[in-house]
Symmetry: C2
Subunit: 253 residues, 2 copies
DNA sequence: CGCAATCTTGAAAAGGCTCAAAACGGGTGG
DNA sequence: CCACCCGTTTTGAGCCTTTTCAAGATTGCG
């Protein structure tokens, strides 16, 4: 556990709320600890991060982790399950911004307005780590690696958000989507060729800027041509090379 | 000018290269100084920023400020002119990521890979401020407001990048584009109802995910219906309320 | 077992793209 | 000063991918 340590005239103290009495649940034992906090921070200092993390959940499918307009106070790392971020406009139409797997962060886009600009909704059973942002920012001034890791995460998300705007056919989008999910699961130690979609067809469609019917049709065609094996929300990648070829315009840039 | 000041065991010294001998060109006299470095940093500490800024340019139309793959070492603030960021894929097709007006930052998306992920090209005569990123990051650990401002900028860009993915008709896109440019110019003290486009129709089209012909046609129609007065690259906003109405699905969310 | 939500499938409509060509505008050189 | 040339912009017409609308099939769950 971290002790109170002087930091630019401030004192960072262990957060009794965060320290929920179950040390073994902390990130050192979390399957996604490394992915979550990055590799730049050495083990000893990592314990200081633990002092400001708070485990929250489980959330049930459909429950909100944050809501649009909520006051920004923390960023969240997904521990388990899948989280959808989305906007709902005045007419009730939804815009799906992204899907977040374990180890990925939510709330970085809220720093600016000091208000969450979108909902974060659990798609299945979800547990998260809550990082108080003021505390994290203070820690970042003391530990350059923490600052750097935050900059890096923001920068990475920014770059990826920018890339998502390129126009492409429905086939390209779906192939890239499946490959992207596969790669993200694989990076977390799950099999790369077999994945379960936590989100509905219409969520996928909305995220990719397509109609739900189109998603259905393309998936069907991918199955007919042997690229995928689709069984409801279970997807098996059969011809990864061929998928990559379909998605090539969206991948190597 | 800033003196060397201890900072977490490091010394930050005035950068002789940055201090190009023309104090009056520094941001305190720069028209966009306030917009550029933000309002969180008080005047005295702002002088420390000056020690690590370097004025670069002018660049002529078509010249690159950074190229894809260049080693990341600095972020840039546009001082004058308009900068286009873009990707060029293997087949030579261009993808326009954004346009940057004076006061806006370039290069934040390069922190992650430590390599610029896109080209930044001058559309007209462009001058920029160069901020060494390592120096800026070090300063950020000493001055929380600088850190906060960087987080905020990244967060803002991230949020805006996410919004740009929503699908919309050509009319909605164009109307929103013109209104967005207008608002950005206005925030910098330029007239809001009369603007000059530094970019070509095909750049606009590419940025908005449309064909150049479509941009031309929609602009024509906007002119015919009295929303705009278009003369080449000079655009006059005649019916702002009506434009807002056309773009409403892309604005208030 | 039956309802409700999700997913699939088919046929028709539409918005924007492609291709092609003409108009325009701004430099350059005679 | 004018003719010419190049790149950009505009305009037209047909086409194509995806959407929409409308049913029907599945699935999960009370």
């Amino acid at each position: 556990m971290g002790q109170g340590v002087p930091a630019g005239g401030r004192i960072v103290r262990p957060n009794p709320i965060a320290d929920d009495g179950s040390d073994q649940k902390f990130c050192s034992t979390c399957a996604f600890g490394a992915a979550c906090v990055g590799n730049g921070v050495d083990k000893i200092r990592l314990s200081e991060l633990h002092c400001l993390v708070e485990h929250v959940g489980p959330y049930r499918p459909g429950q909100s982790i944050v809501r649009t307009g909520d006051r920004f106070g923390a960023i969240f790392a997904v521990r388990s399950g899948t989280v959808k971020t989305r906007l709902v406009d005045l007419e009730g139409r939804e815009l799906v911004l992204g899907f977040h797997l374990p180890g990925e962060l939510i709330g970085l886009n809220a720093i600016h307005a000091e208000t969450y600009p979108c909902d974060a909704v659990a798609l299945d059973t979800v547990e998260v780590c809550r990082f108080s942002f003021p505390a994290l920012a203070t820690l970042a001034t003391r530990i350059p690696q923490v600052q750097q890791e935050l900059f890096r995460r923001l920068s990475k998300d920014l770059g990826e958000a920018n890339l998502r705007k390129q126009e492409a056919t429905a086939d390209e989008r779906l192939a890239a989507f499946v490959l992207n999910l596969s790669a993200r699961y694989e990076a977390r130690g799950f099999p790369a060729d077999s994945l379960h979609l936590a989100m509905s067809r219409s969520d996928i469609a909305n995220y990719l800027g397509l109609a739900a019917e189109t998603v259905s049709r393309v998936l069907r065609r991918f199955q007919d041509t042997g690229l995928l094996k689709v069984d409801g929300r279970d997807v098996k990648l059969c011809e990864v090379a061929a998928l990559r070829d379909v998605a090539k315009n969206l991948l190597h840039r």
